[in-house]
């Protein structure tokens, strides 16, 4: 699998580290809603199909990336730097 790093160009998967689900939204830090925090920390939808994920090009330019990947085919649909593309209130 190749990931097309916006800085380095296409690189082998071995150079990248998975950093987690990029679809989560962090609850308000002042929130005491236990269920919202439980969902944020532990619960994942595990979709079959397109999924937004954080990756880091650890074996290259070290940039944090948002990758849209198909979990069934591993096809990469989009790659963008996290800066400017992360979900509000969250980061890799």
């Amino acid at each position: 699998m190749l990931i097309d790093c916006p800085h380095c160009g296409p690189r082998d998967l071995a150079e990248f580290s998975y950093q987690g689900d990029a679809t989560r939204t962090r609850p308000d830090p002042a929130s005491t809603d236990t269920q919202a925090w439980l969902d944020y920390v532990y619960n994942r939808p595990n979709p079959a199909g397109r999924h937004r994920e954080y990756w880091q090009h650890t074996g290259g330019c070290r940039a944090h990336l948002v990758v849209e990947r198909d979990t069934l085919t591993h096809e990469i649909h989009a790659v963008a730097p996290v800066r400017g593309n992360a979900k509000s209130g969250d980061a890799a």
């Binding site: 800085h7 380095c8 160009g9 690189r11 082998d12 071995a14 150079e15 650890t58 074996g59 290259g60 330019c61 070290r62 940039a63 730097p81 800066r83």
Partner: protein, 196 residues
């Protein structure tokens, strides 16, 4: 200043190795770089950092992925990430020189002189040997002279700069240098190699 010891071990000795019956086709050597520095720009300051480095080191350096340059005094620099450059040279004063040239408002300068080892590989089969270790296109059209990149061989981070048509320089963390040098030597066995 304390003399820096090579991390490559006693078996990294001059001589020819591997299948050199018809002549060794690459040369592997440890390069003496007294100053190795990483300079990183704050977001939006990439161009300013590039200009500061170019001015301080007399380099024709431009921002952008993989761009690099070298001067006649042996100072070279190349881009290793967004707003990040690896600069090296023959003088230990390089880090201080760059700290003076790069104000805090532009970015940071980190002295890696004692943390990196620089290996050189040159010869007609240099691309062939490197292509065994890294999933990169080393053809000169894709990887021109002075350009560079950050990559990794398994978990060992390696920064590579092309310094000539048949010459590459590889920057490796000192603690991994012996292991990586052995891997490089193994990869060069079939073409024959000389250690200088």
């Amino acid at each position: 200043m304390v003399e820096r010891a090579s991390p490559l071990g006693s078996d990294f000795r001059p001589g020819s190795y591997g299948d050199f019956a018809n002549g060794a086709e690459v040369t592997i050597l440890e390069l003496d770089r007294a100053g190795i520095v990483e300079a990183t720009a704050w977001p939006g300051q990439e161009k300013a950092l590039c200009e500061a480095l170019a001015g301080a080191c007399n380099l024709r350096l431009s921002a952008g992925s993989g761009n690099g340059a070298a001067n006649r005094e042996g100072v070279c620099a190349f881009n290793i990430g967004p707003g990040r450059f690896l600069v090296s040279g023959p003088r230990e004063t390089l880090a201080g020189q760059l700290e003076s040239a790069v104000p805090d408002t532009i970015g940071t300068v980190t002295d890696l002189s004692h943390g990196r080892t620089v290996l050189g590989i040159e010869g007609p089969k240099a691309e062939w040997v490197l292509a065994k270790l890294f999933a990169l296109d080393f053809a000169s059209a894709a990887f021109p002279v002075h350009s560079g990149c950050a990559t990794a061989h398994h978990e060992i981070a390696v920064q590579i700069q092309r310094r000539g048509e048949k010459r590459f320089e590889l920057y490796v963390s000192r603690s991994f240098a012996r292991s990586f040098a052995n891997t490089l030597r193994r990869a060069a066995e079939d073409v024959g190699y000389t250690i200088k």
